[in-house]
Amino acid sequence: MAVVPKFVGERIKRREDPRLITGTGQYVDDVRLPGMLTALVLRSPYAHAKINSIKLDAAQKVPGVVAVLCGDDLKDKVGSVPCVAPAEHVPYHPVLAQGKVRFVGEGVAVAVASDAYIAQDALDQIEVDYDPLEAVTDPEQALEAGAPILHDEFKTNSVTLASVPNPAVDEAMNKADKVIRFRIHNQRLAPVPMEPRGVVARWEPGYKQLTIWSSTQIPHLMRSQVADMLKLGENKIHVIAPEVGGGFGAKLNVYAEEALISHLAITLKRPVKWIERRRENLSGTTHGRDQIVYLEIAANKDGEVLALKGRFICDMGAYLQLLTPAIPGFSGLMMTGCYKIPALAFDQQMVFTNKMATDAYRGAGRPEAAFIAERTMEAVASEFNLDPADVRRKNFIAKASFPAPTAGGLVYDSGDYELTLNKALDQIDYNKTRAEQAAAAKEGRYIGIGIASYVEICGIGPSALLPPKLKGGGWESCTVRIEPDGKVTVLTGVSPHGQGQETTFAQIVADELGIDIDDVTVVHGDTALVPYGIGTFGSRGTTVGGPALMMSVGKLQAKMKRIASTMMEVPPEQLEFRNRTIAMASDASKSIALQTVIEAAYGYKTVIEGVEPGLDATSFYEPSACTFPFGTHVAVVEVDSQTGQVKFLRYVAVDDCGKVISPLLVEGQIQGGIAQGIAQALYEEVKYDEGGQLLSATLMDYAVPKANMLPHYELLSTVTPSPVNSLGVKGVGEAGTIGATPCAYNAVLDALKRLGIRDLDMPLKPETIWRAIRDAKKA
């Protein structure tokens, strides 16, 4: 038999892809059950309105319609959509509106029919009598006296005010050479997973058993919350997250439909399917960002930043989804970025508005933080006429300082920020590019070089960091089972939906056991198979799920070594796994076939004292700390001064996510991340008008970038292993997004610097740039 190769660190193609590319994967919409009905939800066309009455009878009479319900029918039957994050005001959030609607797209009624066409016919027959109310969509206006109040019981639109004061900040402001002040708006974005949300629910009356197929990132956490909403035992609910076509944080949530469709399946005693439409996805799936910050920077002429102070206004939307008010905290804590800024103070005012709730979106608070930190560096460079790369070098946390405590109270695990900056600048040939920029300027052209060095927080994390009401901590679970024939099944508590742990985890197991990658199958996303797990979000899949896997593999290795030790009469500590054998480390010729040991474990003909039969191990890994991936991105752009269009000339990314298990997958994550990061800088914007109408409700309006709108990426890396976990990994799911937004933004602003343009709102649309240039030239 051929020698088994090593897999970790190799450029292995994703093992998930063949079935996805050939259309043989199973998404929620592929679930087809006998007798299954289709549900469609009627949604509010108003941002804010009183519901006087809802007439359902005409809809109920449409042939083929099985049920039509509205919010009042569900009172006391289905509980509130949960928010587990602490806040002063957490409103009741019905699965269908009761008495009032508070954003465009809020569910008002549901029709269940034999197919979607008939269900739509039924929705067309529902008459809702609304009394439109004044709406408020600007979070600053929502705080003003006399603003329309969303939730009357609170008498205010303030959700909560979180303050992290620090008197040292005011001292620094007094003694600094200069205090620079400006406002930043990280605009509202839509996550836009390629697969929208979807739910299928089946109730088996004889067994009193509910099965929910949902496109979710958190099957177990969702099960716990839906059990609460429906007052069912968790052991009576089986949740399956089949193929999930992207989540980006938007499926790190518990939605009205998960409970509503389950309730319908239980009461109608028939399976019910609901598949979200794109318009619903853009209006009724959580949005991201939407944070305003009034920033104050205390800095000295040499570029040293002494303190940062931020007053945040964070738009929560109309209701609070699972973690809505918890997201901005990361923006505050991480806003000092890669820099040894000694003093930080911030407060965050969370606000209700007549819009969809915000929540996690790729980066979840850290992109906003990195944007603040990197705008800070550029502002200081501009103010004192310094090179932006030098300002970063001046302020970087030094390599020797790790583990590095920060002004935000975090401890960064490991890093070498200047290394990534130098590598990126070398790749771009910084001095030569600056010279080309100057030469182009003489020809009237506008070339800009943008730099962003970022650090982010991943591997969340120690359970104390997660809200108590989540019913799950920051740990992760994994079962590894070696089957009697030697094949290995991995059952992980993480719930990958594009991250590729079916590949990564198989690479790790194959190497650890000395077997082929094709002998390993990774199972996830099924609460009946997998031990309780926390799920996939915050770049935690491999960072937290990986060590759990290692623990279980380690338990099985120890057990098999004990069995082999008895059979070979060699002490277990002298044995290692090699090429489908357990062999003596010092003498490879003394070995026993792995399969022989496996058969001994299952056959159990020889009882070994203290060794149970079988080969199955479950572990729960609680991380001791978070990890902090980092990197530097550099972009070169040219701005067309006549049309305001931005063209990328170069894009270099140097990312450090610790040890790399699967280089191809890491590159894929970075590429997709950069695309979404550039999208925030240049293209995407969820836009509501003053009356709360959603103006970006279709993909004809909401500008998800296509390949031709993105640059060619030059991807480089450095490797600084994390000391936090046994794999040395840090997480890479969000890094690209976090680095790319400030990088692209800074590049465009650098191109416009000679016109005195210092500050523009994102996205940097051609018209925004064109107006700024025109106004600057007029002045």
Partner: protein, 286 residues
């Protein structure tokens, strides 16, 4: 997402299609590539009781050259126009225009007749059709009639196609020697439609303009010929382009939307007109 119910008719000739149109009147709609009609039906903004699918009328998909004219059937997809060797050789600007429409899926299904008859104010083809002085053939139960591009686009989503008529063919004169054309667009980042699109076709006599035709789409409710630009260039040399292009948006009520204001669109029309004319001249000279 889910159209109201309708009856589906698949025909194999224009004659049969016209017969169904006259039978069902306002209740019927022609289905070609479906790229304008189906989205409206899915939103139930259009609820035709009868859909007459002309997809199997294969002769309508042909592209041919006859007597110095290029004849493109109404059912020719954007992709077939983009890749047609006849179009590429004789009307390169039209192939380039087709290549800039939507994305590959749209180009594989969408048709030239459907696009022109729908007359979306931001569609690409109308600008090229105007600048190339295309001629549309409309068929009705009584026979055929021909309408010049300049008389075809009447208003927002409104053309010279009458109820009961089908746009069966678009005819273009092949570009002759001394003539060059360019289509430039500012692509809407989400929809791919033309925020502004400018087609410029110029004929030079020596170093001066003999004939200039400029079609502009996206700027207002309908695509139009920028006659003030054309007039300003008559008989002039190419150094007159900048001044002439400044008239590109004259007299047009420019559209504003969340992506681009009317003021910006008008500026884009001027800039793209200038660039399209300059590039068209360069092509003739090359």
């Amino acid at each position: 997402m889910f159209p109201a119910s309708f009856e589906y008719h698949r025909v194999s000739s224009v004659k049969d299609a016209l017969a169904l149109l006259s039978q069902f009147g306002d209740e019927a709609k022609i289905l070609a590539g479906g790229h304008s009609l189906l989205p409206m039906m899915k939103l139930r903004l259009a609820q035709p009781a009868h859909l007459v699918d002309i997809g199997a009328v294969h002769e309508l998909a042909q592209i041919q050259e006859q007597g110095g004219r290029i004849l493109i059937g109404g059912l020719a997809t954007h992709h077939s126009v983009e890749t047609s060797s006849i179009v590429k050789a004789k009307l390169p600007i039209l192939a380039e225009c087709a290549a800039l429409i939507g994305d590959i899926q749209v180009r594989n299904r969408g048709t030239i007749g459907g696009s022109l008859a729908h007359a979306d104010p931001a569609a690409d083809y109308p600008a090229a059709a105007l600048a190339l002085e295309a001629e549309m053939t409309l068929e009705n139960p009584g026979g055929k009639r021909k309408v010049k591009a300049a008389d075809f686009f009447l208003d927002l989503l409104t053309t010279a196609v009458q109820a009961g008529e089908i746009l069966t063919q678009v005819s273009f004169a092949a570009l002759g020697a001394g003539t060059g054309g360019v289509y430039l667009k500012h692509r809407h980042p989400a929809s791919g439609f033309a925020t502004v699109g400018v087609a410029a076709v110029v004929t030079l006599k020596g170093t001066n303009f003999d004939k200039v035709r400029v079609g502009i789409t996206g700027l207002g409710a309908k695509a139009f010929r920028a006659s003030s630009v054309e007039k300003a260039l008559a008989g002039k040399a190419s150094d007159a382009i900048a001044a002439a292009a400044s008239h590109a948006a004259d007299g047009v009520d420019a559209t504003s939307d969340t992506y681009a204001s009317g003021e910006f669109r008008a500026e884009l029309a001027r800039v793209y007109t200038r660039r399209a004319l300059e590039q068209a001249v360069a092509r003739v000279k090359a």
